[in-house]
């Protein structure tokens, strides 16, 4: 049977000018390059998050400088600081209010496992935010440097798109 019009023969002529991809991959690329974080600085890590958004470290070049105060408008919740038992209900509510697709970055030792505030007989700290909801990226540090937060975002982007967009810095 003759090849119908618009068959692969014609399409291959366009290849230098047109890029084809799965819609999924395009959506993932769009989402990864414009992750909008929720302003959720709880304690000390919040200051390093603000420093990451400021001029020297500049999250804007990764599309992530638009911190949204409302969870309805945010993609990623960067939990920066210690989560308390008193605060845990509010954190869970915020997570539930975020629309899908959503991701969580646990920034700092407190969000990963309670940090320096875990001791036998402790009564107030939730030992890690992954006890409340699933976490995608963990960034250790107390507090982690802004570069570490950027690396965490790049890891999240890699999780979304499957490719890392910034080369890994290798020491000489």
């Amino acid at each position: 049977m003759e090849a119908p019009q618009g068959s692969s023969q014609d399409l291959s002529d366009c290849l230098p000018y047109v890029k084809f991809a799965k819609l999924d991959e395009l959506l993932a690329l769009g989402r990864a390059n414009s992750l909008w974080p929720l302003t959720f600085g709880l304690a000390c890590c919040a200051i390093e998050m603000m420093a990451a958004g400021a001029s020297r470290f500049d999250l804007a070049r990764f599309g992530a400088e638009v911190f949204r105060p409302s969870p309805r408008q945010a993609d990623v919740m960067i939990v920066a600081g210690t989560v308390n038992k008193k605060m845990a209900a509010a954190v869970k509510t915020l997570y539930d209010q975020m629309p899908e697709p959503k991701w969580v970055i646990a920034m700092g030792n407190c969000a990963i496992s309670g940090g320096p505030f875990v001791f036998p007989g402790q009564y107030a700290v939730v030992e890690g935010v992954d006890k409340l909801f699933p976490v995608d990226v963990y960034i250790p540090g107390c507090p982690p440097r802004p570069e570490a937060l950027i690396e965490g975002l790049l890891k999240l982007e890699e999780k979304l798109t499957g490719k890392r967009r910034w080369p890994v810095v290798k020491s000489e």
């Binding site: 603000m50 008193k86 915020l94």
Partner: protein
């Protein structure tokens, strides 16, 4: 406490019902600088009564004081008020040294003053940027963080950390400073002075800022005294109370500096006090660098296992937010019996309920920003 009777409905002259309502500010809110919740009974845009609710970042610092040796508690001191971490470590270390009768060498005292004042400037810069962000201006935040990065570079080179330093040790310092730090600090001072002048013409003299802050949130001298408010709050109400001058500690008596005090008591007064404090801090750092003595930076014969004699000991420092006092109760063991941390933000915020009655909501936020709160400082 907000009671049901305060929420009331009335019928206005034109027949429409008017009702006060309760809204929640926080705990997640861009303007509360941390996890503070304020329950407010509102009459339209006017606050009838605002009640702060704290405890959302309570991290058991005082309980940990009873669980750790004196040296093990040092990282906690930086995390109480992370913007002014050096001065808080100074408060704790000073209390232990006072109790153990340790003599800190002069070079260590001078370096403590230099690093504390650098920390004070970086704390005031964060306050300035965040305060203006609350009032609606984004630009100063970027300038402030840019200057702050220079301070953080200097401090990172000698302490290894950008935010929570734990640089001071019981009896002195972790390590000495080098010529690169001294040169870098002098360069910073030279570069910071014209920047502060630029901030004055860009922001302080800005008509919009002046209309937002002048005559907003007046706090009287007596109110400060009754609530124990200290720092720029009491100095902005005309009382020249500064722990560095009234209860001098460390090497401060050897420096010539002024305590900026403004009589008006409104938010603009507190703003001006902090801007001038940055100028004075630069003066102190310059004098300390000029007069820096040589010598060791650690006291001799600091016992490895430190036990303080039984009794209670206090030490107060002037942190960026006000008077920080540590009270250690010891029963002779190597772990304290009780560590009480008197933090400035708690006393400063306690007057918010009385001071914000009848204010418009944006004005109340300007008042709260001018108090310069760090919420983990309140909750500890």
């Amino acid at each position: 406490m907000i009671v049901k009777e305060q929420v009331k409905t009335e019928i206005t002259p034109d027949g429409a019902p008017r009702e006060t309502f309760v809204i929640n500010l926080g705990p997640q809110h861009p303007a509360t600088h941390g996890v503070l919740r304020v329950k407010m009974v509102m009459d339209g845009e006017y606050i009838v009564r605002a009640e702060p609710v704290c405890g959302y970042i309570h991290r058991m610092q005082e309980k940990m004081g009873e669980n750790r040796t004196y040296a093990q508690f040092l990282p906690n001191t930086s995390r109480i008020d992370y913007l002014s971490a050096m001065t808080y470590t100074h408060g704790f270390v000073g209390a232990v040294e006072r109790a153990a009768k340790l003599q800190v060498p002069p070079r260590a005292e001078y370096i403590r003053v230099i690093t504390s004042e650098l920390n004070r400037i970086s704390s005031h810069l964060v306050w300035w940027g965040a305060f203006l962000l609350d009032l609606g201006g984004f630009t100063p935040l970027l300038y402030a963080f840019d200057d702050r990065e220079k301070i953080l570079d200097l401090l990172e080179a000698i302490t290894g950390s950008r935010l929570t330093y734990s640089y001071y040790r019981i009896g002195g310092l972790y390590n000495d400073i080098d010529d690169q730090f001294i040169k870098g600090t002098r360069d910073f001072i030279a570069q910071m002075r014209p920047r502060l002048k630029m901030y004055k013409s860009l922001v302080t003299d800005n008509i919009i800022l002046r209309k937002r802050l002048i005559d907003i949130g007046p706090i009287s001298k007596d109110m400060c005294r009754k609530y124990g408010a200290t720092g720029p709050v009491i100095r902005g109400s005309g009382v020249p109370y500064d722990v560095r001058k009234i209860e001098p500690y460390s090497a401060y008596p050897e420096f010539d500096f002024v305590i900026p005090t403004v009589e008006d008591g409104d938010s603009m007064a507190r703003y001006l006090v902090r801007m001038e404090e940055m100028v004075q801090s630069l003066r102190i750092i310059e004098q300390a660098l000029d007069k820096l003595p040589a010598g060791p930076v650690m006291a001799e014969k600091v016992p490895r296992v430190l036990k303080l004699p039984a009794g209670d000991y206090c030490y107060a420092v002037e942190a960026a937010r006000g008077r920080f006092m540590v009270r250690i109760v010891s029963d002779g063991k190597e772990i304290p019996y009780r560590v009480k941390l008197r933090t400035p933000s708690l006393s400063n915020l306690s007057l918010f309920e009385e001071a914000s009655e009848g204010m418009l909501l944006p004005d109340a936020l300007a008042l709260m920003g001018s108090l310069d709160l760090v919420i983990p400082d309140i909750d500890r």
